[in-house]
């Protein structure tokens, strides 16, 4: 009892309150902290939650004892005390003990944890936290942004659903090996935010001991801007190479046309002369006309090659006949189609289809679409490629259709992306459609895929000009 008495004298805070919460009396220990004139309620108004103060008042109002930890602002600083207050006949009485030291240590620890949590939350790097079994329990905002997942979708193994389907199996294997302590987890992979958006990340995981509890921290750096920049550079490099090749072809085509056009003019002239001289030989006439027709065809091919190889990107848009452009391209394409046994047809009801464009670019795109179509029908039983021009209000649609197997629904959205290809390695760069789309846009038109179905149809959508009928 002596010890208890001494403990109360040395350590206990005792006080009596009026019903109005004014301090009626207190022991020396409590008095050291009190500022004269401050009511107990004023003291409670500091730092303590409204809910707790309301709880205390409700308990005392209901004639019940209340106990808890409170914080008081005192002339000596903040006092944290564990107190019990209970009703008496004339007011309230309380007893407590100073727990400031413990409370401050605890609050400092909580502040540090809060600081750490805020750092993780605000970090510009994706942070993924898992327990020692690799089961996710927390991710930060950056990670959610990178993956498009909310925490409830990522929790446990849910995050694996966001990993790109082509990477999922290997990431799962690596993650399992890491959990078992067999391998480190330090690698690149992709998240698929949606069918159109991919995030490239470099991730590194470490096992850490937090307050004696093993946890996995995985930091993920978003590489998407870097990868996209590299792809863009590769795209530009390929375009430059293609331009250089076309320029070389242009120079060569000019030389060839000069060298061939002269003898062709002579052949054409001589055939004309022979026509007069052999007037008495009617059987010779069709043969001479055949010579003249083929000379004209050779001239057209050479003219088309010169146009096609020319870099017209700096030219102004000019008025041209889309039907004539198609004729020119078909002239070049037909031999290859014949060689592969593919029927190539062209249908147009109009005599003239005026559009504004740069001819060489439209020809390049059309030839590219025809080449793709030719590849697509190779395995088909019936092999045909069809070109047709349709008139619609305010626009002309040039449709390129083929009898190939069609484009699977899953890849329709990606087909115009740079480097996307369904051809075997080395058969296609995956740039053709991407470049075609860019070229067509630069001509004030649009290139898109027709409705999904059994056949594939690419549509070149040209606005009608003022000259249009």
């Amino acid at each position: 009892m002596m010890h208890l008495k001494r403990f109360i004298e040395d350590r206990a805070l005792t006080f009596e309150l009026e019903r109005s919460f004014l301090v009626r009396s207190c022991n020396a220990n409590f008095e050291r902290y009190l500022t004269p004139g401050k009511s107990f309620h004023d003291l409670l108004a500091y730092e303590n939650s409204t809910g707790m103060v309301d709880g205390l008042r409700a308990a005392l109002g209901a004639n019940l004892e209340w106990s808890g930890e409170v914080a008081f602002p005192t002339k000596l600083g903040i006092l944290y005390a564990e107190i019990s207050v209970y009703p008496t006949d004339s007011g309230y009485a309380g007893i407590g003990i100073d727990v400031t030291e413990q409370a401050l240590v605890r609050k400092k620890l909580l502040q540090q944890l809060e600081f750490r949590d805020q750092l993780i939350k605000q970090s510009p790097v994706g942070v993924f936290l898992a327990d020692k079994l690799g089961s996710c329990f927390s991710v930060n905002d950056c990670w959610k942004e990178m993956t498009g997942l909310k925490l409830y979708e990522a929790i446990g193994d849910g995050w694996l659903n966001a990993v790109h389907p082509e990477d999922r199996e290997s990431v799962t294997q690596d993650w399992n090996s890491f959990k078992l302590g067999e391998l480190s987890f330090e690698r690149e992979y992709r998240y698929q935010r949606s069918s159109q958006s991919t995030t490239y990340v470099f991730a590194k995981a470490v096992m850490m001991n937090i307050s004696g509890v093993p946890q996995i921290f995985r930091l993920e750096n978003d590489l998407t801007p870097l990868i996209l920049r590299d792809q863009q550079m590769e795209h530009q490099r390929t375009q430059i190479e293609a331009s250089a090749r076309l320029a070389a072809l242009g120079v060569m085509a000019s030389g060839i046309s000069h060298e061939i056009n002269n003898p062709l003019t002579i052949i054409d002239g001589m055939a004309e002369v022979l026509g007069y001289e052999l007037v008495a030989f009617p059987n010779a006439r069709p043969k001479l006309e055949g010579i003249k027709r083929n000379v004209g065809r050779i001239s057209s091919i050479i003219r088309s090659m010169k146009t096609l190889a020319r870099d017209g990107s700096c030219d102004e848009l000019e008025s041209h006949d889309l039907r004539r452009i198609c004729d020119e391209v078909l002239l070049i394409a037909e031999p290859k189609f014949c060689e592969h046994g593919v029927a190539l047809t062209f249908h147009c009801n109009l005599a003239l289809v005026p559009i504004r464009c740069r001819v060489s670019e439209i020809e390049q795109v059309l030839l590219n679409l025809l080449n793709n179509a030719l590849d697509a029908v190779q395995e088909s039983e019936e092999k045909w490629v069809k070109l047709e021009i349709e008139v619609h209000p305010k626009k002309f649609l040039l449709k390129v259709s083929d009898s190939g197997p069609g484009i699977p629904e899953a890849i329709r959205v990606s087909i115009f992306n740079p480097f996307f290809t369904t051809k075997a390695p080395g058969k296609g760069s995956g740039l053709g459609l991407s470049i075609s789309k860019t070229l067509i846009s630069a001509n004030g038109a649009e290139l898109y895929l027709g409705p999904s179905g059994l056949r594939t149809t690419f549509i070149l959508d040209f606005p009608q000009t003022e000259e249009s009928p």
Binding site: M52, G55, A58, N63, L64, G68, E69, V70, Y152, S211
Partner: protein, 264 residues
């Protein structure tokens, strides 16, 4: 530590409709084990332990924060926000019913509806209000709990479970798994709380489930809650006691299914 780990949050089931199951005093998410297998067939379930209960990280128990039900309500809000899963239908048992009301009044955007299982906004009679206990009775209850927590748990368990011995034993075990100092503090916060002023502020579809012969939250209290929450539905269960999800899980699930999704 993040709230998901701190409050031992677990997800079950799938679907667009989310039920957040919130246990009462002295319990843990284990108390939902008889109803969750059925509910998870049609709903995504969020289960968690209140701070200091079950497998929560009791090191984070702050007597200041948890000196009132508002501290627990803030945790509920934080769990929903962190998961990014709201709005949820909150199913709160006993003291958790009022924790849910407090959270929903503070952040109605995170809640779709509330299901209050054997709620009591104030356990003590006060003026015309009948809470079921005199102040002396509550003080006696808390004092017996503080002086012999294990004995108190053994004695109260059959009362809560309508004399179902098996479930009574389970709830007594659950009571004894809480750190005694937290159990005592939480008990005082629970039984001295008064959330009556929050009820009229609630503007969400609400279902109130009332048991027969519930000595903790008698029918008169359930009826009071019903009258105070505009547009609420009041359903009297056939089950006895205070914990219908333990003593009559089939009836509990059937009633929930009959009323979900809750509409105003």
């Amino acid at each position: 530590m993040n709230i998901i780990k701190r409050n031992n949050v677990n997800l079950l089931g799938s679907g667009d409709e989310v039920l957040m199951l919130s246990h009462g005093y002295g319990c843990s998410q284990e108390m939902w084990r008889l109803v969750s297998p059925e509910l998870e067939k049609t709903h995504r379930l969020v289960l968690f332990d209140h701070m200091g209960s079950g497998a929560s990280e009791a090191a984070y128990y702050d007597k200041g924060k948890y000196g009132s039900l508002a501290g627990y309500a803030d945790d509920v809000i934080e769990v929903i926000e962190d998961l990014g899963i709201g709005p949820v239908t909150f199913v709160g048992h006993s003291v958790s019913a009022m924790i849910g009301v407090s959270a929903a009044v503070k952040r109605p955007d995170l809640f779709k509806a509330l299901i209050l299982v054997t709620p009591s906004p104030c356990y003590v009679n006060s003026g015309d209000y009948v809470g079921g206990f005199t102040s002396e009775a509550i003080e006696g209850l808390i004092r017996s709990l503080e002086s012999n927590y294990a004995g108190w748990a053994e004695a109260i368990a059959p009362v809560l479970t309508g004399n179902d011995p098996q479930q009574g034993k389970m709830i007594a075990t659950s009571f004894c798994q809480i750190r005694p100092d937290i159990a005592k503090h939480f008990a005082r916060v629970t039984f001295t709380s008064d959330s009556r002023s929050e009820l009229p502020k609630l503007d969400l579809p609400t279902l109130i489930l009332q048991c027969k012969d519930d000595v903790i939250a008698p029918e008169v209290v359930g009826d009071y809650v019903h009258r105070q929450i505009k547009g609420s539905h009041f359903v009297k269960l056939a089950s006895n006691g205070h914990c219908p999800h333990l003593t009559a899980p089939t009836e509990f699930v059937e009633v929930l299914r009959a009323h979900l999704p809750l509409r105003a």
